[in-house]
Structures are given as C-alpha cells and as structure tokens.
Symmetry: C2
Subunit: 374 residues, 2 copies
C-alpha cells in the first residue's frame, strides 16, 4: 500500500507540470497553420512556429467559451473572446511545450470538445487533441517508407468474462516474411487512457516504421491493451490491485498473441513497458513474473531499486525515463544505483517536456534500439 | 454526367427519410438504459425498449441546447429543457428506427458533440452516435466466439503521393491456418464517412465473426479504404470523377493487399460492394474493370441494368439492397430485370429502416453467404 501511495504522489507531482510552458514572449509571429491533428478540412485550432496555439469555435449565442489549454495548466486555460460573426477566438498566453496536448472547451459551463480537432482518449473521455510542431517531429512523421500494420484483436478473457480489445503492431517484414518469428514488447498506456493511446497520440507505429527503415532497430511486435481493469479514480489509486490486470495480461493476452502471431514465445524475447500508471503496472508485473519478461521500461512511471529484484540473472535491461519538467534527478539516481548493482540500466530525459506524450514518443525512440539485442 | 445527377437525386430522396420514425406513442415506458455506444461510464444518452432516446447534457449557463436526433429528421431534432442543476434533458417525440444513428448537439448556436456518446465519422466530421436496440441485434453483437482481426494498413499511393489508410478484416482462421489463401471483398463507405465506418458503426467484423461461428459463410477478407479522393460537397456530386479513386483502389490498394495478405488474387475471388456513394463507386468501377471483380453489391446505392454490362459471363453475382423506407420498388424492379436477362441477381429490403447503418448491417449479413460460392 505504501508503495502505491508514493507512486500516486509522483503522479501528482508530474501532473503539476502538465502543460507548463516557457515565459510568454512579447511578439507573436503570424505564421499560424492548422494543427496536424485537426478534423478533415478544419482550419482551427492553429499553431505557429513559436508554439502558440490559436482557437476559433463557433457558438453565436454563448456567454463564455474557455479552452483548457494555455499557460498555467489545466486550471488556467485560454479565455476566448467573441467576434461579431459568432466565432470565439483566442491565442495561448505563451508558447506551449512541443508535441501533443489534450484539451477541451468549456462552453457556458458545459464541457465539450473543439469541433475542429480530432479526439483522443485521455482523462477517461475522448478529448480534443492538438500538435505543437516539434524540432524533432521527423521521427514520428508519416513518411514514404514501408509501413507496419496495427491490428485490432479481440481476445477471450475468462477472468473478466468478455472479449477484450488489444492492438498489435506488426512490422513491415511481418506480412512479407511468412516464416519469420518476432520478439514482442507489451506496452501500456497511462491513467485515463486506453489501448488506442500509443498508436493514436503516441504514433508508435510510425516511430517503429521510421526506425526500421533507417536500420536502427531489430523489428519486433508491440502489443497494447487496456490496463484499467479496476475502476480507478483520482485519489483511489491506493486501492488499485494489480492482480486482475496481471491475469488478463499474463494468462490470457500473452497466450492469445503467441497462438495467433508468429512470436518468439519465450522470456528472452518478451519485454514490458508502460507510461505513468502503465509504468506502475510494468514495475509490479515484471517483479511478480520474472520468468515472463526479460526487459523492463518505465516511462514517467516510477523507478526500480536493486533490492526489489530477486533473481538478477533474469533481467536483461532496465530503462527508465521522464521529461525534464518531471523528476529527472530521481530517474538518474535510480539508474546510477542499478548500474552500481550490476544491472544493464539506461536512463533517458526528454528535454523541455513534461508528463505528456512527447516525452513518451521520445522515450520509445530511445528504448527500441536497446531491446532484443542478441 | 446525367447518370450521376440521377444518383444524386436518389441520395437526396434517401436522406429525406433520414431518421424517420413511427407514429408517436402516448405512453413512454420508463425502462431507459445507457446507449451501448456511450463513452465509458457515461449514463446518457439513454434508450428505452420502445426506441425512444433520452438526452442529458450539462451546460449550466447555456440559453438553448437542441439535439439533432428526433422526429422530423435533421431539421427538427429534440429541444432539451434545463433543470436547476444545469443539466439539459429531453426525450425524442417518438421512437426512433432500430439501429445506429448519427447526431450532434447545438449549444447556443454552436455545433458540438454530446460528451456522453462515442464519436463516429459521418457528414465529414466526427459525430455523436447512438444505438437504438433492435429486435435482431444479436447478429452484430460481441459474442464469445473466435474473433477476426481488423488491421490498419498504410499503403503507398503514387497517384496521390502519400501513404493512404485502409482497414483489412481477416477472419479468425487467417492467423491460425498459415498456408491458407482467402477471397477478398472490397467494401466502401458512404458520402461523408471514411474507412473507419464499416467496422465502427457497421460492426462488420462482428457480423462476419458471428456468421463464421455459425458456419453460415466461407471466410473471406474485407478491405475498406477511403473513397472520397475528390473533394465532394453536397450538390457537387455531379462533378465527381471516379478515376482518381479507381486508380487508388485498382492499381495501388489491390496489389498491396495481394502482396501483403494471403489472398486468392484473381477475379473469381474478388468482390466489390458499397453503401450509398460507395454503391455509386462500386457500380462504376465494376463496370469499368470487369476483369478485376466478379461479384457486385450496391447497398442503398443505385442499381445495375442489364444493358450496362458488356460481358455477362464475367459477372457471378449482383446484389442490390435498400431499406424499406427508401425505394424498395426500384431495387426489386431492377433485380427482376437482371434475372430475366439471365444474371444471378438477388435483392434485399431491410424492414422498417431507412438510409442508415441498420440497413447496411443487415445487407452485409444477407450478402456474405452469397459471396465466393464455388
């Protein structure tokens, strides 16, 4: 119980830096372009080269429209003002951090999504999303390279008495080399998200396609499923029990994947990673099941200590990362301790990002080349 | 051009019956339950056993909230009334047709989605969706049977200079019988929808899984891609050109599918079907490419006449369907003419439904057993 309370505290600390941004700049450059995750044909929201976001929402009879994105995080946001044509517009008070952000609009006290933006599952609801152009966005761009597939599977789960959904990324060579078998990374989303997060807002399939095209990694499968088998509310994390999800993952999903995909179905070829709450799940399940996974990664989701690991010979890699706006010292101290204890341990800190998907996109890019090395 | 104008007229006639419903009943039975396509944990919208829909949307400071669903179609809708707690509630004036409906909420003159409902791509935007319980909903229910996978693919398209997205349904046996090859149905969405429509609102993967589990059909693959390569607006259909999409489908997608999936890559094992605008595309492309497809299906999407078909020996099946609230006489007259001319032609009319997905779900259920017969 104590362990979870500590982790909960870490989460809250992380969220304190949610949507933090640089000091407001005086001059806004008027080179705004539609966000790359707008709905088809929609001109707003827009983003400029400095990272400012601009919104335009039509609600001619409304009294107030406030967008949750802006300086000051979720509690602040950007208050829009109404033009004569009924459109409410506004620009963030400063540049936002690079990468993907969730947001919503509060219209006359009701919470709605921005009709211009695509929706992404976060905070246990489908939220509007926006992309702030990043200096390194090339690594998750859709390029003219061979693309892997993202398969929606429905696997039988006796323990929860239903068919559960997961997504499986198969690399480009999977469908062409019909006799080859592949290692598998099990990759978990964060609190309030679901199994769609890593491919939708995480763009993990494109990150993999690009790394494979550049010859930087050995191709592997990625399996993503829903990790919130408990009803988890904020503050209720202390009562979170890992067993229901561990059963789904280890006793139901893994056997299904090994039966239906050409996997290398053994511990040396199986890794687990997760972001935020998914890191907590990864931490607990890998320690509980040392014969199932050999490589562990926590992305803004806590740390390992050498004392926790019973049989050190079974751990091939420990990767721990976070954003520079989170708690990088804690990550780096933990890795130092693990290295001193003889583990193959690697840390990564994403520059100028917080508890958001840009940190996790970059983390996966750093992690992937380290996995499944012979 | 004339042909397209006629089809446009048919579409408009269809849309006149959009959301039509039975005569309003005096007594509303208070057995409302959350719609099955609500966002996780959301209690509203709700549906009762008679097919009434009830909405609850929070917007404490709003002046008016109107939901587009209700008697009288898109122009009418259901006007919600505000309670003291800031929730706007209302019930449709009568029962809705069985099955899936798109809708949105107009809040103080702005168009938003209902925060309680999942979103589905239709009318060129992500709209709220609701399921009215149907007497025959068992055929598209998620059951404890083996499930096929739905794969997102990104295939290279030289003609449009991008990677284009499609979804491929593979039956349960596809991943288990690694040497078997399968026939393929190319299946198109309607105007304003996209490649997500058939598996999201159409539930075509579950319809297939259930038919296969019951031994009613020979398993086959279904490929669904985006058919609106032109910018198509209402009224602009007359200027629609089929060539750009035909090139994507026939010269780019089919070769990719045949190279990356274990298909039976020949005309006898390839079918094309489409709903509404997708029917128009199916009609034109099958007639242009008689050596590519052998089985044709139009779902609320026009008809074939015997005179249009040049080489009758190449056509193994023509299937034409619509809802009873559309123009069933036209469909049945067309099938009569095709049969008299010696074609293997089958009609289907969905009882008490209009130009909506319940018609198309039922149509696919009727079509699937007729396809790829030896």
């Amino acid at each position: 119980m104590k362990k979870y309370s500590v982790i909960l505290l870490v989460f809250l600390t992380f969220f304190g830096s949610f949507c933090s941004a640089q000091t407001a700049q005086a001059t806004i450059i008027e080179d705004f372009k539609p966000s790359t995750v707008n709905q088809p044909g929609q001109q707003y929201p827009q983003v400029n080269s400095q990272g400012y976001a601009r919104f335009k929402i039509s609600a001619p009879e409304a009294k107030s429209v406030v967008v949750s994105l802006g300086l000051g995080g979720a509690k602040g946001g950007t208050v829009l003002t109404k033009a004569e044509n009924g459109n409410w517009t506004g620009t963030t008070a400063g540049p936002m951090d690079e990468g993907f952000h969730y947001y919503h609009a509060t219209v006359d006290g009701g919470v709605f999504n921005d009709p211009g933006a695509l929706n992404f599952y976060g905070s246990t609801r489908w939220e509007s999303g926006i992309e702030i152009s990043a200096h390194d966005q090339d690594f998750y761009a859709l390029k003219n390279v061979p693309h892997g597939h993202v398969q929606q599977i429905l696997f039988p789960s006796k323990s929860t008495n239903t068919s559960r959904r997961a997504y499986v990324y198969t690399p480009p060579s999977y469908s062409r080399e019909q006799s080859k078998r592949f290692p598998v990374l099990y990759l978990q989303h964060g609190w309030g998200e679901d199994e769609t997060a890593w491919s939708n807002q995480g763009r993990v399939n494109l990150i993999m396609d690009n790394l494979i095209a550049e010859g930087k990694i050995k191709p592997f499968l990625i399996v993503m499923t829903y990790g919130m088998t408990n009803e988890i509310k904020w503050g209720g994390m202390a009562s979170f029990k890992i067993e229901p999800f561990q059963t789904v993952l280890v006793d139901e999903l893994i056997p299904y994947v090994d039966a239906n995909f050409r996997t290398l179905a053994n511990q040396p070829n199986r890794a687990m990673a997760g972001l935020s709450m998914g890191g907590m799940e990864t931490h607990t399940i890998t320690l509980n099941k040392p014969d199932v996974f050999s490589q562990y990664a926590l992305l803004s989701g806590g740390i390992y200590t050498p004392e926790e690991i019973k049989d050190r010979s079974k751990v091939k890699l420990i990767f721990i990362s976070c954003g520079s706006r989170e708690n990088p010292d804690r990550v780096q101290t933990a890795i130092k301790g693990l290295k001193e204890a003889g583990f193959n341990a690697v840390s990564y800190v994403s520059d100028q990002t917080g508890h958001e998907f840009q940190t996790w996109r970059r983390s996966i890019k750093e992690l992937a080349p380290l996995l499944f090395k012979d």
